[in-house]
């Protein structure tokens, strides 16, 4: 890899864990006219077990980074390795497979299917990744139990509080044992009490060794992470590290 290595993260993370995310000179430009550079070429490394917050004001390029990390978008430049797999040049089939098996998404607006129970919403995550049918229900219940919702498996989203809904979404993200939990403003739609409950879950998951990337504009949320990356005007900066410029 010939990309700049000046911003490789090794210091604050738990040292020798394998790399989950490795961005090398990754940038994203949207075709014009005029062309818009949403993310300047940036480097970022995240190791297994890290809890990283990506902060920045709206329009700073946070969403672009989230979509690139989540394989929902492809970088214009640079290379992105997920679990050591170079994602450049992968087709829809492989990108979908990686998304389904290695990334758990948590969205600001939960994205639960309103007509399905909490358990059925979690089951949905196992639909596309070859989980044997017989194992799905037990796995879904276990995931719900891990977010403290073992008693609400049959509840419809409409009967759940916002915090409970987000916990169902977290259970859905966890159920396939992903390498990475990618959270987009996970507390953005929650009041402070519910937000706190969700953040506590994140602390627990971090303690259990999960890798979390939380994208937020809320400094209080970012403060819970062990490592913070700032993004502004499409440039990634990590406090205490030299700025990365393309």
């Amino acid at each position: 890899m010939t990309a700049p290595t000046s911003a490789t993260a090794t210091g604050s993370g738990p040292g020798g864990g394998p790399l989950v995310i490795r961005l090398a000179g990754v940038g994203r430009t949207f075709a014009g006219p005029p062309p818009v550079t949403a993310l300047h070429p940036s480097d970022l490394e995240i190791r297994r077990g890290e809890y990283v917050a990506v902060t920045g004001p709206s329009g700073s390029g946070k969403s672009t980074l989230l979509h690139l990390l989540g394989l929902l978008d492809t970088p214009s430049t640079g290379s992105y390795e997920l679990d050591g797999i170079d994602t450049a040049g992968l087709g829809d089939r492989d990108r979908s497979t990686l998304r389904g098996q290695r990334i758990g998404f948590v969205f600001q607006s939960f994205h639960l299917l309103a007509h399905r129970t909490a358990e059925e919403n979690v089951l949905l995550a196992q639909l596309y990744n070859r989980t044997p049918r017989a194992r799905r229900r037990a796995a879904a219940r276990e995931a719900l139990a891990r977010v403290g919702l073992a008693h609400r498996t049959r509840a419809l989203p409409g009967t759940l509080s916002g915090g409970e809904r987000q916990r169902v979404a977290i259970a859905r993200a966890l159920v396939n044992g992903p390498s990475l939990l990618l959270c987009d403003e996970p507390t953005g739609n929650l009041d402070s009490a519910n937000a706190e409950a969700v953040l506590t879950r994140f602390d627990d998951l971090h303690a259990q060794g999960h890798t979390l990337v939380v994208i937020t504009h809320d400094p209080a949320v970012a403060a819970r992470a062990e490592r913070s990356v700032r993004i502004g005007d499409g440039r990634l900066r990590e406090p205490g590290r030299p700025a990365v410029d393309g």
């Binding site: 089939r93 979908s96 998304r99 389904g100 998404f105 600001q108 596309y128 070859r130 049918r133």
Partner: protein, 415 residues
Amino acid sequence: MARSVLPGPASRLGLRDLVAEALSGTLQRPGRTALTMLGTVLGIGAFVAVLGLTATASGQIGERFDLTRATTVTAGDHPSGDGLPPGVEPPTSFPPDTDARLARIDGVRAGGLWWPVPGAPPLAATPTGPDAGQGLALLAATPGAVAAMEPTMVAGVPLDPYVQESRQPVALLSSAAAERLGVSRLDAQPAVFVAGIPYTVIGVYSEVRRQPGALPGVIVPASTALERFGSPPPGGERGTQALVATRVGAAGAVARQLPLALRPDAPEAFTVVPPPDPHGLRDGVASDLTGLFLALAAICLLVGAVGIANTTLVAVLERTEEIGLRRSLGARSRHVAGQFLTESTALGTLGGLIGTGLGVVTVLAVAAARDWTAVLQPAATLPAPLIGSVVGLLAGLYPALRAARTDPLKALRSG
């Protein structure tokens, strides 16, 4: 397709999961599903009902026109009185050798002339006995006409050409007439008396296939009747009639040829009554009603398809967020397309099943109300739900394409 470069299996969506997801999507909104299916239900229902009713009605026509009727041709006489002085009745138009001329027509099994004996002469068991002829028909008939009646002989023989030519005083009795006239056995050559003159009974019949007017009755040779009772009035119900038994399927041709075969010089003297053509009736029903209703059914199906396409498209637009979510959970674009395609196909199939059921019920109800035998052709009924599936599948193509092209980014942002 690019080969996977990843270790381990790729994303997939099992058939069972696909169908379960599609059904779940369909059944979530039962009201909308029902309305969406309506067009397909009506179209398939109309299709099944029209074909079923056509088959049922055709079966009815087939039953009504049985084999005997289909092989019977009758002809009446309306002789021209032109050139005759007033008060003088014209002679019958039938030639004397009618039996032979009829027999020469291709397709004729037997044929001849008959008429009610004019003057209603008294019938009696003894020369001076009381008239026992009340309610008995006294018919004059040629041997060909008797053969065309196809009587079931319980004793003796029917008329033969000899008794006709030699004007024998003989008679055929129906079994009811024989009982009334006290004739029980033929070996003693019993006689019945018509206007006081003895006629030897040569045969007794129980049934006739044609000309049920001969039951109960007495038949005497046409030649004998002509000699003793004179000519029948020309034309009309009491006039001379031709009765022809044809081979199956030949009745139409025989009816067309009959006037020319009898009177090449005056074919217009006869009124020929061929049996109603069952094929013609069936074809008439098929061409008029069936064509119209099948066109309506096709329009219903088209409307149904548009309805399903519209609803599925609306569903795709409504569920953009769900599409994005599924993509984030590892669904490939083809999985998303497959799901919506399966949903529209399920809608069409369900509509087809319900429509087929309604169509069958309609056919059964109409048949029951009319006392008909319901006829449902498996070839038209069983594939009907599949037509619904095809309609649903076609209707879902465009919406599924739209779903597959939905950008997961935008979809997830819309929440």
